[in-house]
């Protein structure tokens, strides 16, 4: 394989485990040597590979900032100059003289990122480090990474979180068993990778299913799952603030009486966004021999912009045994959020909101203890 990265570009390495993403980073970081071939690196390189690696639990935050900073290649003077900035970013001012062993894991990670990212190197390697920490911290780190890119830092980013990848990078390299599968604009590459992931998942399911149906367990088959826009039945892109409908088509091989149906909406990275069950909604479904359709309306859809699919199951009267060995799946569908670009949104759904503002509190909402 071979690839180039120019100044101020950000490249994502994606691919399944064992594809060689981390090995590339290790070679670039000079931690290990390639068995064959060459790398050429121009400029100061720094690696955000494991946050807080090298922190000594018995030493204070202050001591560890200096220790970690020098490991990452800063001189003592440079750390002194950036000390306040590091403490600010990590939000641990009050605990700066407390041993790190008393920090929460979140605090440790924040401090680690603050030290590592204050370096402003010309090339920055980021390996899966943002998987830790809460959402607001991730946002903060992303902003920081964007700042660095703006200042001309080139970034190589490894993550399984395709959302972060898309938010942080403009090009991507899709690796499979040590080879380049695709290299290009981040969106295209991620789409291909997601397709592959989906296919792989589907294959796994099929293997699993063929075993199931041999036992003749299937009393019912889900023939199709559609997601449609309630207003425009032909639309393939769904606005977040418009109603949508999930339609579950089935074919029952014998009369089943009372059954339960559950449906999920699953984001392209596998996150289950919501679960809807007839049992919870006290909706009764009676199935006779033959075909039919169960519809579920979401008013409005509320999901943030992204790619999703819906999955449905039929369950028996007790809502515990699946009647189908194979779940029904819809095609991928795209949700368009209300924000201009999807980077402006985070989270999973946009609830219908109503803001109010009362500037004169008059003591309401306060608590007094006497």
């Amino acid at each position: 394989m071979s690839f180039n990265l120019e100044n101020g570009q950000s490249l994502a390495l994606i691919g399944p485990n064992g594809a060689g993403k981390s090995t590339i980073l290790k070679i670039l970081a000079r931690i290990t040597r390639p068995t064959l071939g060459e790398t050429e690196i121009n400029g100061q390189l720094s690696a955000l590979i494991e946050l807080g690696a090298g922190f000594h639990p018995d030493l204070t935050g202050r001591e560890n900032i200096f220790l970690n900073g020098t490991i990452l290649g800063l001189s003592r003077k440079e750390i002194e100059r950036r000390f306040d900035e590091i403490v600010d970013f990590s939000e641990i001012e009050r605990f700066i003289d407390t041993p790190v062993k008393r920090y929460s894991s979140g605090m440790t990670v924040r401090l680690g990122f603050a030290v590592a990212s204050c370096i402003e190197p010309e090339i920055l390697l980021v390996d899966e480090v943002l998987a830790v920490g809460d959402a607001s911290f991730q946002q903060k780190c992303l902003r920081r990474i964007h700042d660095l890119i703006q200042k001309g830092t080139s970034i190589i980013f490894v993550s399984h979180n395709l959302y972060l990848v898309q938010a942080a990078c403009n090009t991507a390299l899709y690796l499979q068993s040590g080879r380049v599968k695709q290299y290009g604009p981040v969106k295209e590459v991620i789409d291909l990778y997601e397709q592959d992931l989906h296919q792989e998942r589907a294959q796994k399911f099929e293997g699993f299913e063929s075993r199931g149906s041999q036992e003749g367990a299937d009393k019912l088959e889900i023939t199709q799952v559609d997601v449609i826009s309630a207003n425009e039945p032909l639309a393939t892109v769904f606005p977040s603030d418009q109603p949508a409908q999930i339609r579950i088509y089935y074919n029952a091989y014998r009369p089943l009486g009372k059954v339960h149906v559950s449906a999920f909406i699953i984001r392209s990275d596998g996150l289950i966004c919501c679960m809807m069950r007839t049992k919870l909604d006290n909706f009764e479904v009676h199935v006779d021999h033959g075909t039919g359709v169960v519809s579920l309306s979401l008013e409005p859809l509320q999901l943030v912009g992204g790619t999703y699919f819906a999955e449905a199951w039929f369950l028996d009267e007790s809502d515990s045994m699946a009647l189908t060995s194979k779940s029904g799946r819809s095609d991928w569908f795209t949700v368009k959020g209300s924000a201009f670009s999807y980077e402006d949104t985070s989270g999973v759904f946009t609830p219908s909101t109503r803001w109010t503002h009362d500037p004169d509190l008059n003591g309401r909402g306060t608590v007094r203890i006497s």
Binding site: I31, A47, E50, H56, D58, L59, L67, T70
Partner: protein, 260 residues
């Protein structure tokens, strides 16, 4: 290699930070703290003084046995504790080594520097000791101490770097080293004077670099004379050990991250 040394000097901040980490971490939850630097060699000296004055008297001339053995015990403790810490220094920080690039020799060298502080503290006790026993100070000899120390540091660095690197591949190295240090203790003139070694064996005896180094410390501090030619083999052996140890370390260091 010159470029290596230059870049090593540039990473002195890393070395200092790591040294202070080692020292702080060692004394962090310790009640006696730095006093351990003295207690360890002093306790050993007391034990051997007890044995070799009460049960098996050894002739140490005008110098009391306690002072005689403490002068050698302190530099010996520096060597033994340094090697012990250095040999484990890379393995103990494997999580760092496999994830971040920095000059790897900083780890073992900082381990030695941290022990150097102990050495300084334990050596400071010599001043009241020499004054109390009214041992005459020999100024020209004191000037020689940095030379002897430099030889000893070369020896420690060479062995420490080599064992630190080898220990990554085979953990036996650390155990083997501990055993070796025990035997080496008796093969060096710490608890007995060189004069007890048969004349015919002495040329071989001084091939042990610690023999010359310890004897030299005694000559300048206790006997009021400059080290003799016996220091030459120590110098040569230590230098070779340093070059080979450092070369070996640099040669295999890129493999560290691949071995987990």
């Amino acid at each position: 290699m010159i470029a290596d040394v230059k870049s090593a000097i540039q990473s002195k901040d890393l070395l200092l930070a790591w040294t202070s980490r080692n020292i702080r971490a060692r004394y962090q939850q310790s009640a006696l703290g730095w006093l351990w630097a003295v207690i360890q060699p002093a306790a050993q000296t007391v034990i051997f003084t007890f044995i070799f004055t009460m049960f098996v008297p050894i002739d140490t001339g005008d110098v009391p046995y306690g002072v005689f053995s403490y002068v050698a015990m302190v530099p010996w403790a520096f060597l033994a504790s340094s090697l012990n810490d250095m040999s484990g220094s890379i393995v103990a920080n494997m999580s760092l080594v496999t994830k971040i690039y920095f000059r790897r020799e900083a780890l073992p060298i900082a381990s030695m520097l941290a022990r150097f502080m102990d050495f300084g503290i334990a050596a400071a006790l010599l001043v009241p000791l020499l004054l109390y026993f009214q041992i005459p100070i020999y100024p020209a000899g004191l000037l020689f101490i940095p030379v002897i120390l430099a030889i000893q540091v070369m020896l420690i660095l060479g062995l420490g770097l080599a064992t630190a690197a080898a220990n990554v591949f085979y953990r036996d190295v650390q155990s083997l080293l501990a055993l070796g240090i025990q035997l080496w203790f008796y093969a060096s003139p710490i608890i007995y004077p060189v004069t007890m070694v048969p004349e015919k064996l002495r040329p071989f005896y001084f091939l042990n670099p610690m023999a010359g180094i310890l004897e030299a410390y005694r000559d300048v501090l206790l006997n009021g004379r400059l080290p003799g030619l016996y220091l030459l083999p120590s110098m040569v052996v230590s230098f070779i050990v340093f070059i080979v140890g450092y070369w070996f370390f640099k040669r295999v260091e890129y493999l560290f991250a691949d071995i987990v």
